[in-house]
Amino acid sequence: MRQRLVRLGVLLLFVAVTGAAFAQSGSQLRFCLHSEPKTLNPVLMADESSETVRYLTGGVLMRLNRLTQQLEPELATSWKVSEEGKTISFKLRAGVHFSDGTAFSADDVAYTMQQLMDPALHSPTGDSFRSAEGKVITKVEAKDRVTVIFPAPVVGLDKLFDQVAIMSASSPKKEMAVLGPYYVAENKAGSYLLLKRNPNYWKHDAAGVQLPYINSVRLDIQQNRDVEMLRLVRGEIDFINAVDPEYFDKLAAQAPGTVTEAGVSLDSEQMWFNQVASSPLPAYKKAWFTSTNFRRAISNSINREDLARVVFRGHAQPAVSWVSPANKVWFNAKLQPHAFDQKAALQMLANDGFRLQNGVLRDREGHAVEFSIITNAGNKYRERMATMIQQDLAGIGIRLNVVTLDFPSLIERITRTFDYEASLLGLVNNDLDPNSQMNVWLSSAEQHQWNPEQKTPATTWEAEIDKLMRAQASTLDQKKRKQAVDRVQEIVWQQEPFIYLVNKNAMSAVSKNLRNAHPVVLRPQVYWNIDQLSLGSEVAQNR
């Protein structure tokens, strides 16, 4: 009898849900892509638009919760990393079906791994799993158990699976059969993509209602940010993932309540001096730039608070070191941004024999201190930062020439000819794990911008960074890793090969109609919880 009642309840609920589904048939989420997705095959995706589609359609074994920055189970109910990161075993969720009705099993994971690691496909996602030469073996142990074995340990292995959308091994629809909340229903090249809710999506909310709430997602391809902003104001789209400070303020004035600031992001803006020994700079300038005192004096003479306040209109924070405070796990909380202190700066310069004469700083040999800073033309925030730094450095008698270059010539100078003195650029960062920055911090690395591809470390502190970065890469012990990374942050803070200026804030604009949106700093800022989002109407119906 009781069982019957429960069944009846379930039935009633089912009716209610289907009723709700009918009611929400009109609900559509709309936002803009800034370019056309280059591919819809999840293993080949590398561009931002494709990744958006993958995030909305792909089912993954586990998902990095963008708010808590912790991994959460999805298609895998549990997993275990062993052998120092060489092996990972998954236990899979049962009773899950692809959007076309095919059942999900361990074979699909094996197929996905095979595709991902297929050398012929050159999967950009697969590249992050390639730690050494050799084959990746996937063992299907049962319908719901699968183990993947890599030839060498992969650092931060589990988090990488956030990027791996599981493809069906058997579906005739190939990559168009998906496990995520939506599937691609329509793709009008150059114009828009229409995604419809996956009727077989496995997730339900606490009340047992099948997710996602919103029936369809329309992605309009729109390059022009002004138009995008106007469309938001007119209510034609529901959110903008990332807005820059100027647009933020305009929107705040025009459509108050739509803009939200999620806090400081992982992106940083920094400057550095050319320390390449073979560069065509005069010897006395090389001596300045390789001096820690000189670099720290420059750093102390820059008013980071002003940069954040004036250039970014307050939507940035003074930066500390190479890990942003937004990175909850890895940021070294003991460090503080360098204070603006020109007196201390002059003191440090005096230690190196510099002196201020008639408002001009001169080195020991009498050379007036003048150098140029190059940045990419067209980026007004960087141009403004450079102009403010120019003014700041004038305060300690340094003449700074701001030179804006087109991007190719800039890259040419900083990577090939090394014919530059200082450079101001930014780093867009998507990855929380510091291991992704190995290519910057190893002295032998190509992207070791201030003095790349060294045979042996030029300085003792660079040697120490090399040692620490390698150490953190070769262990799974989180505590040891954290210690090493903290120490590297400290060294960078002391030596300032990169003078970190600001970390930009993550800002989004979200229409008031969109419920349950909690924009965060990590990408995708607004729709990271896509299956939880709803548009006013159908929430009312569901309640």
């Binding site: 100027e246 004035a253 025009q254 004036v310 033309a377 007004k380 102009t387 020439n401 014919d419």
Partner: protein
């Protein structure tokens, strides 16, 4: 008509004087950043408000006008003289020389200038003082801007060469460069004036565009170009109409020059 001319002249005199004595007229140094009041609206401290770094816009307009008002016409003059000499000679001599020069001009016009200018920037030493950088920019514009005008002038010179008065001048013993200079160039004057007045605003805008490419006026020196670039980010959403002052000033100055010129000098 006369009133208009005098008004225009007076306006030009006032503008030029204000720019020449900018050191005394300007309320603040053009590079000084009032960091507490970026993007401020006009007030009695900042007559035209401040720019995104808090620099007094009125002072920047004064200094920027000085730079542009001096250099843009100078560059336009250089371009016009080159156009007159090259186009005039080609049209005057005719024959294979004309064909060669016109082919060269076509080539010149079709060259990827952006690319070349970028190369030029790459060749310049990085530590160039802002003013030198402006000077180089305008000199480049002047040296490169002659081609389009030269085409027009060449065609004109050719028609003049076949005209009766040139035949008469030859019949009275004139010839060679003297004929070109004394008889043809005076007739090219209206075209040259026109080309000159087209070139002035074009160069001002070109300088602004080059700034976007990293070639041109370097911070913190202002110019009409860099002031106009402020309008790039202008949006009706956060209207700051006083940002248009440099643009209005540019239009006013150019049209006042037109008005102030003697009518004969322009039309004959």
């Amino acid at each position: 008509m006369k009133v208009a001319r005098i008004t225009a002249l007076a306006f030009l005199v006032v503008v030029s004087a204000a720019c020449l004595f900018a050191d005394f007229v300007a309320p603040a140094p053009y590079a000084r950043q009032f960091r507490d009041v970026p993007d401020a609206a006009p007030s009695h401290q900042h007559l035209l408000g401040t720019d995104s770094l808090g620099r007094d816009r009125f002072s920047r307009v004064l200094y920027g006008t000085r730079v542009s008002l001096l250099l843009a016409p100078a560059a336009a003059l250089l371009a016009s003289i080159l156009a007159a000499l090259i186009g005039g000679t080609a049209g005057f001599v005719g024959g294979w020389l004309e064909r060669c020069v016109m082919a060269a001009t076509d080539l010149f016009l079709s060259l990827p200038w952006l690319f070349l200018l970028i190369t030029v920037r790459a060749l310049l030493p990085l530590n160039t003082a802002p003013f030198t950088s402006v000077l180089i920019t305008f000199a480049l514009l002047g040296c490169l801007g002659w081609a389009a005008a030269a085409r027009v002038i060449c065609a004109d010179a050719r028609t003049f060469c076949q005209s009766d008065f040139i035949l008469r001048a030859r019949a009275s013993g004139s010839g060679g460069f003297r004929l070109l200079w004394r008889h043809i160039v005076p007739n090219l004057k209206p075209v040259l004036y026109a080309q000159f007045w087209i070139a002035v605003p074009v160069f001002i805008l070109a300088e602004a565009n080059l700034g976007a490419l990293g070639l041109g006026v370097a911070e913190p020196l202002p110019s009409w170009g860099s002031l106009l670039r402020e309008l790039e980010s202008f949006s009706p959403l956060s209207s700051q109409p006083w940002q248009f002052v440099p643009l209005v000033l540019l239009i006013a100055v150019v049209s006042c020059f037109h008005l102030a010129m003697k009518k004969q000098e322009l039309s004959v």
